[in-house]
C-alpha cells in the first residue's frame, strides 16, 4: 500500500457501517412497534402467516408454482452473488470487467424476460388457460 493509514482511519468506515446497520434495524422494528396495530389470533401467531401450515402430514401436495418460484429465486440469487467476486476484482480489471458485467446482466435479463413472458411469474393464472406455464 502506498501510504500507511492510522488504525482509526482504517476502522472508521467499518464502524460507520456497523452503527448505521444497528440504527437502521432498531429504527425499523421500533417504528413498527410504535405505530402498528396489534391483532392476536391463531393465524397471526403461527410461524408463517401465509403459505404452508408447518404442522401436519409432510406428504401434502403443493402447487408447482412454489417450486418454480423457489428455483427462480435460487437462480437469480446465485447470479446476484456473482456480483461480489466481481466487485472484488473490479479495480484490477477496469473497463473489461465493466463490459463483462453488462453482458452478464443482459443475459440474466433475457432469462428474466423469458420467464416473465412465459407467465411463470403470474401467480393467479386463469383456470381456462393454465397451458400458459410452459
Amino acid at each position: 500500500m502506498p501510504n500507511q493509514l492510522a488504525p482509526a482511519e482504517v476502522w472508521f468506515p467499518i464502524l460507520t457501517q456497523v452503527v448505521f446497520a444497528v440504527v437502521m434495524a432498531v429504527a425499523l422494528v421500533g417504528v413498527g412497534l410504535a405505530l402498528g396495530k396489534r391483532v392476536k389470533n391463531k393465524v397471526k401467531d403461527s410461524p408463517y402467516e401465509c403459505g404452508i401450515t408447518p404442522v401436519g402430514s409432510a406428504r401434502n401436495r403443493f402447487s408447482v408454482k412454489f417450486y418454480l418460484v423457489a428455483m427462480l429465486f435460487i437462480l437469480f440469487d446465485i447470479e446476484a452473488i456473482f456480483l461480489y467476486p466481481w466487485a472484488v476484482v473490479y479495480r484490477e480489471l477496469k473497463l473489461f470487467a465493466f463490459f463483462e458485467m453488462l453482458l452478464f446482466m443482459a443475459l440474466v435479463l433475457v432469462g428474466f424476460f423469458y420467464i416473465w413472458k412465459k407467465g411463470v411469474l403470474d401467480w393467479a393464472v386463469d383456470e381456462t388457460s393454465d397451458e400458459k406455464i410452459q
Partner: protein, 488 residues
C-alpha cells in the same frame, strides 16, 4: 498478476463460433417468448442457419490458430476438427427433431436453444487447454443435455431419463472436479500445457501417488462421459428414455467432445506419465467392448440396443486411446466422425419409425420395413452395415485404423479381443436387417408416413457421409492427421 485483460481481436475471432452460438441461443429464447405459434416455425431454421454460420466461422478461425484468453483456449487443427464435428452433429439433430417435436406437440424454441447451448459447451471442451475450461464446457454441455433428455415433460420415461442422467452426471463431474483440485494441489497449475511442463520437469517431479490419485479421479469423470465400463450403467436407461432425436444427439455430440477432452488430457497433459493411464484404459477398453456387445445381443428395444452398441463403440475408441500414439489419436478422431454419421442416421430412422409417443421402438416394429419403405430400409441397412464394420463404409475404416494403431503399439491381445468383439457385434445388427427384409410386416399394421423433409435430409447426409468415409477415408483422415499432430 496484472495485465491487459481486454481480449485482442484475434482472440475474439478464435472464439467467435461460440460467441455466435451463444448469441443465437439467447435470441432464440427471446423469440420464443415473443413470437406467435405460427412464427415459431422458423425458429429451427434460425438455429440451423446459425449452426452453419458458426461452422463457417470455426473453419475460418482455423486459418489463424493460436491460444486465446490467457491460454485457456487453444484453437488448433484438433480443436477445429472436433468443433466442426459437434456443430455438424447439432445441425443434423435439428433436422431430425423438427418433425418429431411437431408430432409430440411440443414445438418450442427452447429445444433449439438448448441444443445450441449444449454445442457451445462441447466446442469449449474441444478447444479448452485448461482443466477448468474443460469442466465449464462439460457443465454447459451437460446441463443443456439434462434438460433435453426430459424435454417431453408429460412422458414418464423422459423424466426418469433426465433425472438419472442429471444425478449420475453430477456425481461423475464431482469426481472430475475433485481430480482437478488434486492436480492443482500437486502441480500448481490447471493449464494443460502447464501440467505437462511440470510433469516433464525432472527437477521437481511431483509425487507419483498424488498424480495417480488425481489422474484416477479425472479418468472417472471422463470415462463416465464416454460411457465406459464400469461407468456405463446410465447410458442404456438414459438413451432409452430420452426422446429419439435427443438420444441421437447425446450419443454423438457430448461423446465426441468428451473424447476430444480425453485426448487432450491423456495425450498432451498427462502424456509424460502415460504408463500410469495406459493399463487403466487397457482394462476399461476390453471391459467396455465386451459388456457393450454382449448386453446388446439380448435387447429387444432398438434404442436400448443402440445404446449398448454405442457403449461398445466407445470401447473401440478407447482401444485407439490405449495405443497412445499419433496414429491412435488419428484413429480415434476418424472413428468419432464415422461413429457420429452412422449413429445419427440410425437414430434418425428410429425417430422416424417410432413416431408419436415412441410406441414403435421394439425390434419387431421394424418388420417388413424393407417392403413398406424400401429406401428408408436401404439407408438404415447402410448404417447397420457400417456399425458392423463392413468394408466400403465408414465403420470399417474406423475399426481398421483403430486396430492398426493398436497393433502398431504392440497391443496384440487388445486387438484380438476387439476383432472377436466386432464379430459378435455383427449378430445383433444383422438381426435388425433380417427383421426388416425377411419378416413380413404384421397384419393390420398402420401405415408409416413418408419421412419428413428434415429426416430425409439428415438420412441422405448421414448415409452419404458413411459411404464417402468408407470409399474415400483419406478426405477426413488427412485432416485428422494434421489435427492430431498438434497434440502429438
Amino acid at each position: 498478476m496484472p495485465g491487459n485483460y481486454m481480449p485482442s481481436a484475434a482472440e475474439l475471432f478464435r472464439f467467435s463460433p461460440e460467441l455466435l452460438l451463444t448469441a443465437a441461443g439467447t435470441l432464440l429464447m427471446i423469440f420464443e417468448a415473443i413470437t406467435s405459434p405460427k412464427q415459431k416455425r422458423s425458429l429451427p431454421v434460425f438455429a440451423f442457419l446459425s449452426l452453419l454460420a458458426a461452422l463457417a466461422l470455426a473453419v475460418a478461425a482455423s486459418s489463424d490458430p493460436g491460444p486465446a484468453f490467457n491460454r485457456m483456449l487453444q484453437v488448433d487443427g484438433f480443436a477445429t476438427f472436433f468443433r466442426v464435428l459437434v456443430m455438424a452433429i447439432g445441425a443434423v439433430t435439428i433436422l431430425i427433431s423438427t418433425n418429431y417435436l411437431k408430432q409430440a406437440e411440443h414445438e418450442g424454441g427452447e429445444f433449439y436453444s438448448l441444443v445450441l447451448f449444449s454445442v457451445v459447451g462441447q466446442c469449449l471442451m474441444a478447444t479448452a487447454n485448461e482443466l477448468i475450461m474443460i469442466f465449464i464446457g462439460i457443465e454447459v454441455s451437460s446441463i443443456a443435455t439434462y434438460v433435453l433428455a426430459g424435454y417431453l415433460r408429460d412422458d414418464k420415461r423422459n423424466n426418469e431419463a433426465a433425472l438419472k442422467y442429471f444425478l449420475l452426471g453430477s456425481f461423475a463431474t464431482a469426481f472430475l472436479l475433485y481430480g482437478v483440485a488434486w492436480i492443482y494441489g500437486t502441480t500448481g497449475t490447471t493449464n494443460l500445457s502447464g501440467v505437462r511442463g511440470v510433469l516433464l520437469d525432472p527437477q521437481n517431479a511431483p509425487n507419483a501417488i498424488l498424480i495417480s490419485v488425481a489422474l484416477g479421479l479425472v479418468l472417472v469423470g471422463l470415462l463416465f462421459k464416454v460411457s465406459a465400463v464400469p461407468f456405463q450403467s446410465w447410458a442404456p436407461d438414459v438413451y432409452q428414455g430420452a426422446p429419439a432425436p435427443v438420444t441421437a444427439f447425446m450419443a454423438t455430440g457430448p461423446k465426441a467432445a468428451a473424447f476430444a477432452a480425453f485426448l487432450r488430457i491423456t495425450m498432451w497433459a498427462f502424456e509424460p506419465v502415460k504408463n500410469h493411464w495406459i493399463p487403466v484404459l487397457w482394462f476399461t477398453a476390453i471391459a467396455t467392448m465386451i459388456v457393450g456387445n454382449f448386453a446388446a445381443l439380448r435387447q429387444s428395444n432398438v434404442k436400448r440396443l443402440l445404446a449398448y452398441s454405442s457403449i461398445a463403440h466407445a470401447g473401440y475408441v478407447l482401444v485407439a486411446l490405449t495405443a497412445a500414439s499419433k496414429t491412435g489419436t488419428e484413429a480415434a478422431m476418424f472413428y468419432m466422425v464415422s461413429y457420429a454419421a452412422m449413429n445419427l442416421g440410425a437414430f434418425a430412422v428410429i425417430a422416424h419409425v417410432a413416431r408419436k409417443g415412441e410406441r414403435r421402438v421394439e425390434i419387431d416394429d421394424f418388420a417388413g420395413l424393407g417392403n413398406r419403405q424400401p429406401l428408408t430400409a436401404a439407408i438404415f441397412t447402410v448404417f447397420l452395415l457400417s456399425l458392423i464394420g463392413v468394408p466400403l463404409t465408414g465403420g470399417f475404416f474406423a475399426k481398421f485404423y483403430v486396430f492398426k494403431a493398436a497393433l502398431d503399439s504392440q497391443l496384440i491381445a487388445l486387438t484380438i479381443v476387439g476383432l472377436l468383439n466386432s464379430a459378435v457385434a455383427a449378430f445383433y445388427y444383422l438381426r435388425l436387417i433380417v427383421i426388416m427384409y425377411m419378416q413380413p410386416a404384421p397384419e393390420g399394421v398402420d401405415t408409416l408416413p413418408e419421412p419428413s423433409l428434415g429426416i430425409r435430409t439428415a438420412l441422405v447426409a448421414c448415409s452419404l457421409a458413411t459411404v464417402v468415409l468408407g470409399v474415400f477415408p483419406s478426405l477426413v483422415l488427412d485432416i485428422a492427421g494434421r489435427g492430431a499432430s498438434f497434440i502429438r
